[in-house]
């Protein structure tokens, strides 16, 4: 049902770029890049923003965008932190069973908050028809403002060790971080939604032509709300991960992720106008970004330059895609 040729081109470009990074690293620091330590470090890092990228992907396929994801992330993370601290105050110990229950309760709460934020976005976009860009820019302000208001400024810290384990720990005895299976589960769920459910098909329809969707009897309000609710939940998952990772919940966590997720998603083949894209491209894109990020760290390039590089990379890829398209059109015209 999709144009297989186009999809392969995107996938091909991404794999080529990944190969390029490997080659360059072979030249510059073969010693440290191709080690188990580096691989392990990569596995810890990409799920956090990779899951967020899936949320952005869903919204963009639906023809919108979610600029408030980072805000949802922080608000959910804060929720988890506060509930956890209420159940297991800082410095206290608790039994393993109680800890488990506390973790579950706080995580569910975080996901609920994420879902509510998403529903809020989806309702405004779907019911009033306000452009997604505007709504989510606004709600970013709202959610961040909520976090700031509740925390009063300083970060909320002191969560129990078990919480920190979520993002920083590995499955007993192996080198597999907990976050990796979480990422894989999210990946499978999102892929399932997009390709195997009615909602997924409706998301593609909505992103392709909103008017025609309405006239075809598709409940665009429901689709919109479910799409943003899902991305909100994904934001919640990321929120739990980042709060656990940094052991701190504050309004300024992860602000660079907004640009990063858009970059990842566009690189991964999602068209800003909607109706196109899927998990394979986005996953490869996430991995590519992680490979580049690690390469930068090992080459002792600072974090700030990464920002610069992300912007430059986005432009580079878009230019390449455009050039390829132009070459194709020329070929067609000559035939």
């Amino acid at each position: 049902m999709k144009n297989p040729l186009a999809r392969n081109k995107q996938v091909g470009t991404l794999i080529a770029l990944m190969a390029l990074v490997c080659v360059l690293m072979l030249i510059f620091c073969p010693g440290s890049y191709f080690t188990a330590k580096n691989a392990k470090s990569m596995l810890f890092q990409f799920p956090e923003y990779g899951i967020l990228a899936f949320g952005m992907m869903l919204c963009m396929i639906a023809g919108g965008i979610d600029l408030s994801l980072v805000g949802i992330m922080n608000l959910s993370g804060l929720t988890a932190a506060l509930i956890l601290l209420a159940l297991i105050p800082e410095g206290t110990e608790a039994s393993a069973e109680f800890t488990a229950v506390a973790l579950i309760v706080s995580s569910v709460a975080a996901l609920l908050v994420g879902a509510l934020c998403g529903l809020f976005n989806g309702f405004l976009i779907g019911y009033f028809g306000i452009p997604a860009m505007l709504v989510t820019l606004c709600s970013l302000q709202l959610f961040t403002g909520l976090v700031y208001g509740i925390t009063g400024g300083p970060a909320v810290t002191g969560m129990c060790d078990a919480f920190k384990e979520i993002a920083n720990g590995t499955i007993a005895g192996t080198f597999v971080p907990y976050v990796l299976p979480i990422f894989v589960i999210v990946l499978l769920v999102v892929a399932f939604i997009l390709h195997k459910t009615k909602l997924g098909r409706e998301i593609y329809y909505l992103g392709t032509n909103r008017k025609a969707s309405v006239f075809s009897g598709i409940n665009t309000l429901k689709t919109s709300m479910l799409t943003y609710m899902t991305s909100g939940i994904l934001g919640g998952v990321s929120g739990i991960l980042i709060t656990s990772h940094l052991n701190a919940a504050k309004s300024s966590n992860g602000t660079s992720y907004t640009l990063l997720t858009i970059l990842i998603v566009v690189l991964g083949g999602v068209h800003p106008d909607g109706g196109k894209g899927d998990v394979v491209g986005v996953t490869l894109s996430v991995l590519l970004m992680q490979m580049i990020s690690n390469a930068f760290t090992l080459l002792h390039i600072s974090q700030d330059v990464k920002n610069f590089a992300n912007g430059a990379l986005l432009i580079l890829v878009l230019v390449c895609v455009m050039l390829i398209r132009k070459v194709e059109e020329k070929k067609k015209a000559q035939q």
Partner: protein, 333 residues
């Protein structure tokens, strides 16, 4: 016919803004009679100065149908680079050189935006996001993150130049209105004239209304788009210089995070995200509303920690109202 015309006027976007501004002012004044002193408009001018200038840039871009989120980053670069150069002694103690270097920065990044959007046809949101990260990344990489305060003596002199100073008899506090207020005034007037009375200006509206038709009719669309982003970059850097003068320092993060406020000021003031609409007067009112709200939440008794949220709520209402207003009279779907 006349009744419908005046009804349309009184329910127009502009008038609704006026009502809201008045309503808000009344509420604040009731709670805090101090609001009604001449200090208030002076404060508003000071506070809204930067927002308004940025809003002018944003308006230009929005009229052509695009959106610009790179102006905070461009502003930061434009204020920081000359500061660093001056700090290291590369620039002499001359305000003019400072301004020129700043404008150069604005020009370069405006050019980048222009190339991305008009030649590479990248959607403006993504293009300006990319420029934003390139600008801020470049800054941190090249110069680190120190806050700087040393600036040319000329600037200190300008800082002391005030158009009018109001001294509150009760508290003895003085509220100076800087002479730099002329800059946005002149900018606004010039822009209004250009937008209304030059082909270039009409071209911007045409592009926002129907891009392909603008090409067919003969507007130099690429050139216009390019120019828009360059001008926007230049005004941004000018605003950054004013920031340095008035705030007495430059940092790499001072202006960041303002995107929403400025875009909201434009949207609330009548600019459409899809382009082709927007007036200086509307943007002025939008900026006024936002500045008013931002700076008087204290007077309404809202704690500092909740002010970000409060502003967000006001923005939400503004956006909702404008969208509903725009949707009225159009088709059902």
């Amino acid at each position: 016919m006349n009744r419908t015309k005046s009804k349309a006027f009184f329910t127009s976007n502009t008038m609704i803004l006026v009502y809201v501004i008045l309503a808000f002012s009344v509420v604040v004044a009731l709670r805090q009679p101090a609001f009604l002193s001449p200090a208030t408009p002076i404060n508003l001018c000071r506070a809204g100065l930067f927002t308004f200038c940025f809003a002018l840039c944003e308006m230009l871009v929005m009229i052509t149908g695009g959106i610009d989120v790179s102006f905070p980053a461009i502003g930061c670069v434009s204020m920081y680079v000359p500061m660093v150069l001056y700090d290291r002694g590369i620039l002499p103690d001359n305000g003019l050189y400072f301004v020129l270097v700043a404008l150069l920065c604005g020009l370069i990044f405006g050019l980048l935006n222009g190339v991305l959007v008009s030649y590479l046809r990248i959607p403006s949101l993504i293009a300006t996001l990319a420029t934003s990260s390139i600008a801020s990344g470049f800054l941190a990489f090249a110069f680190g993150v120190k806050d700087l305060t040393a600036m040319p003596t000329a600037f200190t002199k300008i800082y002391e130049m005030n158009l009018v100073t109001y001294t509150d008899p009760a508290s003895g506090l003085s509220y100076p209105l800087t002479v730099l207020i002329f800059v946005p005034v002149v900018l606004a007037v010039v822009m209004a004239l250009i937008l209304r009375y030059t082909m270039g200006g009409r071209g911007l509206y045409a592009m926002g209304g129907n891009l392909s038709a603008a090409r067919i009719v003969g507007f130099p669309v690429r050139r216009l788009q390019f120019t828009t982003y360059i001008v926007s970059g230049l005004i941004t850097s000018l605003t950054a210089v004013m920031y340095v003068i008035l705030m007495h320092n430059a940092s790499t993060t001072a202006l960041m995070g303002n995107e929403m406020l400025v875009i909201a000021a434009c949207v609330v003031g009548g600019c459409s995200l899809s382009g082709g609409k927007g007036t200086i007067g509307g943007v002025l009112l939008g900026t006024l509303l936002i500045t008013l709200v931002q700076n008087h939440l204290n007077m309404l008794g809202i704690d500092t920690r909740w002010q970000t949220l409060a502003v967000g709520i006001v923005l939400l209402f503004g956006v909702l109202m404008t969208s509903l207003q725009a949707g009225r009279g159009k088709g059902r779907v």
